[in-house]
């Protein structure tokens, strides 16, 4: 088991955004978090990342857990729209967790960044300015940065938003490969069909936990609900 939520809940200014969460993620799992807008998905991710402490319950991590092993793909922030930074600089900053007290990145960090740039087909764009890229290219840049950081766990907040269908397919294929390489993936997605094809587990949120189980069971649960 990598981490488990035990009756955890999170609130903003006293308004509960997500509560009653009981689930666990094992190493190698591919968990897809689904639910409508405002159902607490992003809040849950922030909680798992340790950016927000739960107001009730707790999260238990594996014994050998280090916070720096997570790669995180956030939703776009407004400040990044006019930020002067090259693709290379952004992707390299994914290694920040491993910088420690060193002032600058080593050759190994640069190599890792380059590998991830290649993996996402961004090699030719690496000298370009981040703010001048298309939405899809920016998304892929941030994904490359997340991969630079991810040792064990990849947490993705809507990785497919802004991607055209073929780029989305590429990302799915990439995630599949990463999972086979031993990475655990937790992802928030609106693309239910694509997610169900790949995910091993599904968590359905509507401010409360509506369903947690394997993808196969989730299909059955959905059918039963409609009947």
């Amino acid at each position: 088991m990598l981490l488990s939520c035990q009756n955890a809940a999170w609130a903003y200014d006293g308004n509960v955004a997500a509560s009653g969460l009981n689930f666990s993620v094992a190493a190698g799992d591919y968990l897809c978090v689904v639910g409508e807008n405002g159902s607490g998905k992003s809040t849950l991710l922030r909680g798992l990342l340790g950016l927000k402490t739960p107001c009730a319950g707790k999260i238990v991590y594996a014994a050998d857990w280090r916070g720096t092993d997570i790669g995180y793909l956030p939703q776009q922030t407004a400040a990044q729209k006019d930020f002067p930074a090259s693709v290379q600089e952004v992707v390299l900053s994914g290694r920040i967790g491993r910088l420690g007290w060193r002032p600058f990145y080593a050759a190994a960090d640069k190599k890792a960044a380059l590998n991830n740039l290649k993996l996402l087909g961004l090699e030719r764009l690496r000298g370009r300015c981040f703010r001048e890229l298309s939405g899809g290219q920016q998304r892929r840049t941030l994904l490359a940065r997340a991969l630079c950081a991810a040792q064990k766990l990849l947490i993705l907040d809507e990785p497919l938003s802004g991607l055209d269908p073929s780029a989305a397919q590429n990302v799915y294929a990439l995630l599949q490969r990463l999972r086979q390489a031993g990475l655990t993936i937790i992802m928030v997605s609106h693309d239910l069909r694509g997610a169900l094809r790949q995910a091993s587990h599904v968590l359905h949120l509507q401010n409360k936990q509506k369903f947690f189980g394997t993808a196969a069971n989730y299909k059955k649960w959905l059918e039963k609900k409609h009947v």
Binding site: L49, G50, T68, Y72, E89, V90
Partner: protein, 410 residues
């Protein structure tokens, strides 16, 4: 040019202002990039007002100005960040509260003690005379500390500036780096406060960063060019303030504004695809303006330069020459015609057989022969009884009291 700088740097207070100013500009620009991108630009403004209040209180109590204001402004920086992060009062409102509050306290303290006088004006708008020797030592030490901390934590500051949530998720103590940024800013602001003025110091934080961001696309190049731009503007501002006796702070800010506008123009030209035309146009413009310029014949290569003009006369026809020499008159024994010239005695074996200079014509009254004069005039060609000769049609002929070298060898 060199003499000018030597003269300027012979004033100890200008040297002090230069050292502290360059360091403060450097630090402010480096920090400014992150502050602007994090939407923290107004923190600089707020802190400078707090600094004003602290200085006022320090001078009322006869305390060392920097020793009092550094800790007070540091405290204000911590407070500002805490308020804007945690409470219901939003960042900009918090800054307005603290800065006007400190300003009010400062003004009240001053009017109770010394009264509103030129000192207050200097605090608000800056004075080049502000730095004492001990201030310089303290400033250099603090500025170097700011610089070293910035370089050591550059990558983390970048990560936190670009995406705070990501940096936090990767285990970076984003809160600590925000605090560090605010504290380094506080120190920088206080150091530059009395020279630039409380109302103007925050421009050092904002302008270079914005200028650099208009033309550069990488964080690293933005940071480096902001630092260079900032130091250049300060240097130029200081020189202008020295020449025209304008307040240093205002001069620096005006140079910054000009550069900011130029950068905007450059970015616009780049967007329209005209950027590549800028350099050739500048060179062309330079050549054209050089073509119009007065050619000055200096003492050092007097013979060489006059020879060059005689040898390539067609290139120089119509150009304005300016030089000093001996005014001399020569009457031709055959025709009785008088020739006037401004010359120096050149190298030769028989006294004056190789005089360097030009024949001159002047429609006003000529000076005495052998007077030392400065001649300015356009070179022209005329026909002197079948011989083509060169002469200067003078626009100015001044008799100078101090004579230069009459004998020139090269």
């Amino acid at each position: 040019m060199f003499d000018f700088f030597a003269e300027m740097l012979s004033y100890a207070f200008i040297v002090r202002a230069l050292i502290v100013g360059l360091l403060v500009s450097l630090c402010a620009a480096l920090l400014g990039v992150s502050l602007v991108l994090k939407r923290y630009s107004m923190i600089g403004d707020g802190l400078s007002h707090v600094g004003f209040g602290a200085l006022a209180v320090a001078s009322a109590g006869n305390a060392a100005p920097l020793a009092v204001s550094v800790p007070v402004v540091l405290l204000a920086a911590v407070l500002l960040l805490r308020i804007s992060e945690n409470s219901k009062i939003k960042g900009d409102a918090a800054i307005a509260l603290i800065s006007t509050g400190a300003l009010a306290v400062g003004v009240a303290v001053i009017s109770l003690t010394t009264g509103l006088n030129t000192d207050v004006c200097n605090y608000l708008f800056g004075s080049i005379l502000a730095m004492s020797k001990s201030d310089v030592y303290l400033s250099v030490g603090l500025a170097l500390a700011v610089l070293i901390l910035f370089i050591c934590f550059y990558q983390k500051i970048f990560a936190v500036t670009f995406d705070e949530n990501f940096a936090r998720s990767a285990g970076v103590q984003a809160g600590f780096y925000n605090m560090l940024l605010a504290c380094l800013t506080a120190v920088t602001i206080v150091l530059g406060l009395r020279m630039m003025g409380a109302l103007l110091i925050s421009s050092l934080v904002v302008f270079p960063a914005l200028t650099a961001m208009r033309v550069c696309k990488k964080f690293q190049t933005v940071t480096l060019s902001a630092a260079l731009i900032s130091m250049f503007c300060f240097l130029l501002g200081l020189i202008i303030s020295y020449i025209y006796a304008t307040p240093t702070g205002a001069s620096v800010v005006i140079i910054n504004i000009i550069l900011f506008l130029l950068a905007g123009l450059l970015a616009w030209l780049q967007a329209k695809g005209w950027l590549r035309a800028v350099l050739p146009l500048l060179i062309l413009g330079g050549l054209l303006s050089a073509a119009d310029k007065i050619i000055e014949i200096k003492e050092n290569f007097f013979v060489t330069q006059t020879n060059e003009i005689y040898a390539n006369a067609p290139d120089y026809l119509g150009r304005t020459l300016k030089y000093e020499g001996i005014f001399s008159v020569y009457a031709d024994p055959d025709s009785g015609k008088k020739y006037y010239a401004v010359i120096r005695y050149g190298p030769g074996c028989c006294g004056t057989d190789l005089n360097a200079g030009f024949e001159v014509v002047w429609d006003k009254e000529y000076p005495q022969a052998n007077d030392w004069v400065e001649a300015v005039g356009a070179l022209e060609e005329y026909d002197d009884n079948g011989i083509r000769a060169l002469q200067l049609r003078l626009t100015s002929l001044k008799v100078l009291p101090v004579r230069g070298k009459e004998q020139v060898l090269r």
